[in-house]
């Protein structure tokens, strides 16, 4: 993250009061680190506050309380709750994308790569229930500021499935339609969101075989897709 030039010109005595909440001895840390740290704390604070209150009822006071920073610090980083939310959303999606991509790239064969990618996504969301709710449910509720980013994030999953067209026999390619991947991705995301809304985030990983079979069926046929879904 780029340091704020004005901030780096400040002396150590100008550190904001919440720095005193960091363990002693850390006061010598560079301003840039503190700023970054505050930003991450605000983002985590927002995720906690939103999980607790829902986006609409979340106030900046909730966020700063969870982040243990001052209101002034909040406004040094973000101009509004919406802006903080967008930042949080992008941070979460970047992490999610990195995990999915790394898991996918690690596999040689496409069916296994899809399985690994879906597994990474479910694993991340199950382990981070607040972030899961923020990215898959509250992002929609938060309204127009995030909805476009949400749509784009979901569309960014399409190429992972499209890669499955490569090397398929001509009769398979002939019957796949232009919307196949869009419908597959939308169906998977919809199921995941529904489970999060129902408070079943911790059990998301149980969906792995179902989702893998669903995603692979149009390319491999039902029997082979079911086999790949079991990890064999």
């Amino acid at each position: 993250m780029a340091a704020d030039p004005k901030a780096s010109a400040q002396s150590a005595t100008d550190y904001p009061p919440e720095l005193s909440r960091l363990p002693p001895g850390r006061h010598g840390l560079p301003r840039e680190f503190v700023v970054h740290n505050q930003r991450e704390r605000l983002i985590a604070g927002l995720a906690e506050a939103v999980a607790e209150n829902g986006y609409a009822s979340t106030t900046i006071a909730h966020i700063t309380r969870h982040a243990a920073v001052s209101r002034r610090t909040f406004y040094e980083h973000f101009s509004s709750k919406d802006e903080c939310f967008v930042s949080a959303y992008e941070t979460v999606m970047e992490q999610l994308r990195e995990r999915v991509d790394a898991a996918y790239q690690e596999q040689e064969e496409w069916p296994q790569a899809v399985r690994a990618g879906i597994g990474a996504m479910l694993g991340f969301l199950a382990a981070e229930p607040n972030l899961a709710r923020l990215s898959m449910v509250e992002a929609l509720v938060a309204g127009p500021v995030v909805v476009e980013r949400y749509d784009a994030a979901i569309r960014s999953l399409v190429p992972y499935l499209e890669a499955g067209r490569e090397g398929r026999p001509p009769e398979v390619l002939a019957r796949l339609s232009p919307t196949t991947e869009e419908a597959l991705v939308g169906g998977m995301v919809s199921l995941i969101s529904r489970r999060i809304i129902a408070g079943q985030t911790a059990e998301l990983e149980e969906l792995l075989p179902d989702l893998v079979e669903f995603a692979l069926t149009p390319y491999l046929g039902t029997a082979a897709a079911a086999k790949a879904a079991q990890g064999s």
Partner: protein, 209 residues
């Protein structure tokens, strides 16, 4: 001269129904024009050409009106889908006829479709929950496919949810790109998408052609 009492009662009922329908269609138009958040009861009242009191005789708030709009639309969609599906015999034909009826409804009511399929997602938690519930009501129509499928109960338990979610996502994308008018063209692709897991891709392609 006053109309006979029975007749008056009938017309009052008619007027109430009519007012409700007008309010709902005004809400949908205003929502499309301004986005749900920005719409006020005053906007709805103005567009519907009714008194503010009349609005509050029918609904307790903007949100109440929005949820009623969702419920009405889902009820009407289901009615049309079931009507169309029961006119044909096989399950494959039923999926085709039901989806055709649904897409036709979406194409013929663009404001209502945008309100209930796009805006409903960002109109607050109650509305989002209502939307999710409404998707569930289509599950039984697909689930019958397990009886014609060779793999029957081996199919993933969540299959119907993912199929319906996928279909709605594709429709959602077309609506936000202002392609609602051409949505009926998606019929063969969506039918094939829905049938493939049950009867295999080749049979699904034939059934959707």
């Amino acid at each position: 001269m006053r109309p006979p009492p029975g007749r008056q009662q009938l017309s009052r009922e008619f007027i109430t129904q009519h007012q409700r329908a007008r309010i709902i269609s005004a809400l949908a138009e205003e929502t499309v024009a301004r986005g749900y958040r920005a719409v006020t009861v005053a906007d709805i009242v103005r567009r519907a050409g009714i008194a503010r009191n009349t609005f509050y005789e029918n609904f307790s708030s903007k949100q109440d009106c929005f949820l009623a709009t969702q419920d009405d639309a889902v009820e009407e969609a289901l009615r049309r889908v079931v009507d169309a599906a029961t006119k044909v015999e096989s399950w494959q034909e039923r999926v085709d006829a039901g989806l055709a009826a649904f897409l036709h409804y979406v194409a013929s009511e663009p404001a209502l479709a945008r309100t209930c399929i796009v805006e409903a997602l960002s109109a607050g938690p109650a509305s989002l929950a209502r939307y999710e519930e409404s998707l569930q009501s289509f599950i039984p129509l697909f689930r019958i496919g397990r009886k014609v499928s060779k793999r029957g109960e081996e199919l993933p338990e969540t299959l119907e949810e993912t199929i319906i979610g996928g279909i709605f996502w594709v429709i959602y994308q077309r609506i936000i790109r202002d392609e609602t008018g051409q949505i009926e063209r998606l019929l063969p692709e969506l039918v094939e998408f829905a049938l493939t897991p049950y009867i295999g891709a080749e049979a699904a392609k034939r059934a959707s052609a």
